[in-house]
Symmetry: C2
Subunit: 148 residues, 2 copies
């Protein structure tokens, strides 16, 4: 996993994720990039809202990056709302209508279409929130105290 | 709030907190230092266990640091278990028997006495876990992307 330390260079998708996270921060959503909702799954951005809302955002830097992704359907069950984040040149007609859409660059983003809400079952929300909390805290500790 | 960036110098209490967090990390507890459970309250270390256990650890670097603290009783209601962390020279007979005890230095720590368990009500646990998650993620984002 690269790009998780401030000094690592970021890939095109990670730059989009940074813009997405900045934007969501302004809407009071806390974010973790490259979050692992369960072993073997990794989502580009998981966002946690003020009332515990859980959003997943997958960042696609190109058409081929999207068309080669066979896993995204499996992420729907890990969030209340699902979004794509793409840059302004991306052919958005490729994206399914019933998903959210965010147009992003490395510096900011704009929410174009809200993803439909499909509320998580309470037990999964509880487990995901705990997992998010522990992943965020461990990474924070890793940056503050690299000896851990 | 100083000491939250890797380059800030740490106070005596923050050095103890670092040792505590390293130790707890080895026991699969994720930690956030200087956590705010509610506005106006700040605990030195909040730790979140693999099953959602919430521990609070207050770090005392000297006798006067302990005797001048009139707030700690108010922290009991924010955790399942409460601990003091002090260095090896601290007069531990000052500390109440019915609290946990951790002996720490800047590099590590040892759990000497488990704090008695007083389980949080479910609604408060849920709110605290969410708050921990969002504080940890925001600080992580602040370190990874200082522009936020």
């Amino acid at each position: 996993m690269t790009g998780l330390s401030p000094s690592d260079p970021l890939s095109a998708g990670q730059l989009l994720a940074r813009g997405v996270c900045r934007h969501l921060s302004g809407h009071d959503f806390a974010t973790v990039e490259e979050f692992t909702p369960e072993r073997g799954k990794r989502v580009d951005v998981m966002a946690l809202g003020p009332r515990g809302e859980i959003w997943v955002i997958e960042c696609k830097s190109s058409r081929v990056d999207f068309t080669s992704d066979r896993k995204w359907g499996g992420y729907l069950e890990w969030c209340d709302r699902y979004f794509w984040a793409v840059d302004v040149d991306f052919p958005t007609e490729l994206l399914p209508d019933d998903t959210g859409l965010i147009i992003a660059d490395a510096y900011n983003a704009e929410l174009i279409r809200m993803g439909p809400e499909e509320k998580l079952p309470p037990a999964r929300r509880k487990a995901l929130t705990l997992r998010f909390a522990r992943q965020a805290a461990r990474r924070l500790q890793g940056l503050r105290d690299p000896r851990v």
